[in-house]
């Protein structure tokens, strides 16, 4: 299966799209490594990875069909 990734804020500047697909990765550390190889400017950005709308930290499992989002620091209000 593939993963659907949403990119927000400055991470979308790096990926040059708000939404894209990647192959499935077992956890967020592997996914992060893949993303930063594919979009090198992500390496210089601070961002969290949300799995099914919950922010993860460190290495979190990614189940099949999870909704993934890249979240730079929030700046609403």
């Amino acid at each position: 299966m593939s993963l659907n990734i949403k990119a927000f804020g400055m991470t979308a500047d790096a990926t040059e799209t708000f939404s894209f697909e990647t192959p499935h990765f077992a956890d967020t550390s592997e996914l992060r490594r893949h993303l930063e190889r594919t979009y090198p400017s992500l390496t210089f950005m601070k961002y969290s990875i949300a799995v099914d709308r919950k922010i993860t930290s460190g290495k979190s499992t990614i189940h099949d069909g999870a909704e993934i989002a890249l979240l730079p620091p929030f700046s609403g209000g």
């Binding site: 804020g9 989002a69 979240l71």
Partner: protein, 147 residues
């Protein structure tokens, strides 16, 4: 009042002062209310490296925002004695001088209204996945950083 249902906190473009006035007027039927605490965020015409911020463009991870907002809301209702609570946040372009955030908390007594409103504003800033991009007068832009 709709303390339970909450579809979305988002509105397209700025929040108009007339909308705020109308929201206040609607609360006159809530005769158990003694205090309203309101917070408004207004886009500032900051000058950054000699460039004028003429607007901020907001984007959000909508679905995650609304879920997190419901949790924040339930937590506040469980800890404060509130009559009602409303949040409106802009999406898209909001020009400097215009309002991008309207937080409206009502209670029988002022301490609950003021303290809950204060806490809610901090949580909106820190917990909701919303991003502002500062648009400068020279057509450049940069992602806003909350302090």
């Amino acid at each position: 009042m709709n303390t339970h249902k909450t579809k979305s906190i988002f509105v397209e473009g700025p929040v108009s002062p007339a909308f705020i006035g109308a929201s206040i007027a609607r609360h006159s039927s809530h005769t158990e209310v003694g205090a309203h605490s309101i917070f408004l965020g207004q886009v500032r015409n900051d000058i950054i490296d000699n460039r004028d911020v003429k607007a901020i463009e907001y984007t959000a991870y909508d679905e995650a925002c609304n879920e997190t907002y419901l949790e924040i809301r339930e937590d506040l209702f469980s800890r404060y004695d509130l009559c009602c609570l409303h949040v409106y946040h802009s999406l898209g372009v909001v020009k400097s001088g215009e309002i991008c955030l309207f937080v409206f908390v009502s209670s029988e007594h002022r301490r609950d209204a003021i303290d809950a409103c204060n806490e809610l504003v901090e949580k909106i800033k820190s917990k909701l996945p919303i991003w502002g991009k500062e648009l400068f007068n020279d057509t450049t832009s940069q992602w806003k950083i909350n302090i």
